[in-house]
């Protein structure tokens, strides 16, 4: 998770030679804080140091991979929803996740101060506050930054939302109390586990996986069984015809952004519960992976996004297993496979039929 602490900015100005010249320049420029990847995080590989591979260990890998994959998939689904209705990439998506996680944390702190310490109640309120707040934020972003730029080159939208991501990230770092430091996230789920040989099936992990599946199932239900979902799918397939059916295009776009952003908040809370820690950089990393996952799956396809998310997690896990002596290379491996996949299937694994009118 090396990227987690990177900040936009700080350009190459830190490239000062230490020691060669101890001027005021050096002092000023080396002020840049270097956030390093946090070793305390349980990663897919950290459970295994043994050379032998037994069933229990294998199950552990699978479980960790599934957890990662679920988070990636939830983020990727957002990207693909936005792209579906508006053909744009909203790159601040990952940082919306961060803000969502911090909103949940702030809610928890607030509840504790009020003396409300029932864990299920806390969790429900936290989740509700985070998803609701992020849904509103998502709508605001769509209204103010994304919709007005419809006529501009796609790259402008990409860059403007990237910059917005920086604004969100920096705001968390600067304005959340001690936001620059990693924050402990409360462990609100039951901590017990069932031990099956080397494999510890943790209840909280199972519950989170189940919640993720439920969220995706709820999204599927919304998209395929409700009138709103019908409108979203119609807009995604043919915006203009959808409008001539009386669908308020702008409203549908806003609702879609709300849904996607709420899912990101959900993933953010899940991330906090899984690692018991959040920092202002988590969203950047998850956002980039979620975007890659949505792309390798094939933009615009929900199934593609889910497939892409789990595929990416699988690649990281396989990278850990295949490179036992250098599991640090797992991200190198995963991204190299992403690049290779793009060469093989330039429009993603689940192909949208694209035909150009000449």
């Amino acid at each position: 998770m090396a990227t987690s602490g990177d900040r936009l900015g700080g350009a190459g100005l830190a490239l000062v030679k230490p020691g060669t010249c101890a001027g005021r320049a050096q002092l000023a420029m080396r002020h840049r804080v270097r956030e390093k990847g946090r070793g305390s995080r349980p990663e897919a590989g950290s459970v295994a140091t043994a050379n032998t591979m037994d069933i229990g260990l294998f199950a552990q890998y699978v479980m960790n991979g599934l957890m990662l994959g679920m988070m990636y998939a939830l983020v990727a689904v957002g990207f693909t929803l936005f792209f579906g209705v508006l053909d744009v990439i909203k790159f601040s998506h990952g940082d919306v996740l961060t803000v969502g996680a911090f909103t949940a944390l702030a809610t928890f702190v607030g509840l504790s101060r009020l003396g409300l310490e029932s864990q299920w109640f806390d969790l429900a309120v936290m989740l509700g506050a985070a998803t609701l707040a992020m849904a509103l934020l998502g709508m605001l972003i769509a209204r103010v930054l994304v919709l007005p730029l419809r006529g501009a080159p796609p790259l402008n939208t990409l860059l403007i939302t990237l910059m917005l991501g920086t604004v969100l990230r920096e705001s968390v770092r600067l304005f959340y109390p001690q936001g620059a430091n990693p924050k402990p996230f409360p462990a609100l789920l039951p901590r017990g586990s069932v031990n099956l040989g080397d494999f510890h099936l943790r209840f909280d992990n199972v519950m989170m996986l189940a919640a993720g599946v439920a969220a995706i199932a709820a999204l599927q239900y919304l998209l395929h069984r409700t009138k709103l979902g019908l409108a979203i799918r119609a807009v995604a397939q043919d915006e203009e015809t959808a409008r001539t059916m009386g669908i308020n295009f702008t409203a549908i776009v806003l609702v879609t952004f709300a849904i996607g952003s709420a899912l990101a908040a959900f993933a953010g809370v899940m991330n906090g519960l899984y690692y018991n820690e959040i920092n202002f950089g988590i969203g950047l990393y998850l956002g980039v992976i979620g975007f890659s996952a949505a792309i390798i799956g094939g933009l615009g396809s929900i199934y593609g996004a889910i497939l892409g998310g789990f595929l990416f997690a699988a690649l990281q896990t396989v990278g850990t297993v295949l490179l036992p002596f250098a599991s640090a290379y797992k991200d190198v491996f995963a991204f190299a496979v992403v690049i290779a996949l793009m060469a093989w299937r330039p429009t993603g694994l689940i192909r949208e039929k694209i035909s150009e009118r000449v």
Binding site: A231, A234, T244
Partner: protein, 236 residues
């Protein structure tokens, strides 16, 4: 003249070039009014102007006594206009039933939607057989049925039909025109935009001929049938 739809000297530009140069026409309630013209005469642009997809640069469009010129598309539809677009434009990855439901998007009553759905299925038994099929996998003729059915789902006062015969075989065209007449007989006013002159005039009450963005002839079908402008609009 009252008219259900009145278009008053509309100018519409597309990419800095005027496509419509002051078009005026009236659609009487209960009628089938047709708009004839060769390719490129501006028919589709007029439909887009009415629907608010390409708002006019000048002129007024009045529907049911209310100006709709600058309204967003969904409000124009809500006012009681439905559209069967050129090329049918079914949603390819929605099922037949879902396509029809999108057509009734503005209708709040579930019972009304269900009733209309049943009615459409009666008109097009073929759609009833294929309720759950993805519309994109159907034949051109079946897609035409989906598109017409979808247009009827919101129980419009005015139905705009843009080139229903486009790309269809003569047999299907004939069938489609029968259906259009049938729809009209049930009290829905129709503005039929077509290039197929003879069959269109055969079912219309009133007609306009468009050429190079202007109305060059107007009148009853019998008057139009033998007018030189009609032939000229097509064969120069």
């Amino acid at each position: 003249m009252a008219g259900l739809l009145r278009i008053e000297s509309v100018f519409t530009a597309y990419d800095r070039a005027d496509v419509l140069h002051g078009v005026s026409l009236t659609v009487e309630p209960g009628s089938i009014t047709c708009l004839l013209g060769a390719n490129g005469s501006g028919k589709t642009t007029l439909v887009r102007s009415i629907l608010g997809l390409t708002p006019p640069r000048a002129g007024r469009i009045i529907f049911d006594g209310r100006e709709i010129t600058a309204l967003p598309t969904h409000k124009i539809i809500a006012a009681g206009i439905a559209c069967i677009p050129e090329g049918r434009k079914v949603f390819p990855k929605l099922t037949v039933e879902e396509n029809l439901r999108v057509g009734a998007y503005g209708e709040r009553s579930k019972a009304a939607v269900a009733a209309r759905m049943d009615e459409i299925m009666r008109i097009f038994p073929r759609l009833a057989e294929r309720r759950a099929q993805l519309a994109g996998t159907m034949s051109g003729g079946e897609q035409a049925m989906v598109s017409i059915g979808r247009g009827l789902m919101c129980a419009p006062k005015l139905l705009l039909i843009d080139e229903p015969s486009l790309g269809l075989s003569p047999l299907l065209v004939k069938e489609n025109f029968n259906i259009i007449r049938h729809i009209n007989a049930r009290g829905i006013t129709i503005l039929l935009v077509e290039q197929n002159v003879h069959q269109t005039l055969a079912i219309s009450h009133q007609g306009y001929v468009l050429s190079k963005g202007k109305v060059v002839a107007a009148g009853s079908p019998d008057e139009l049938k033998d007018r030189a402008e009609v032939r000229e609009a097509y064969f120069g």
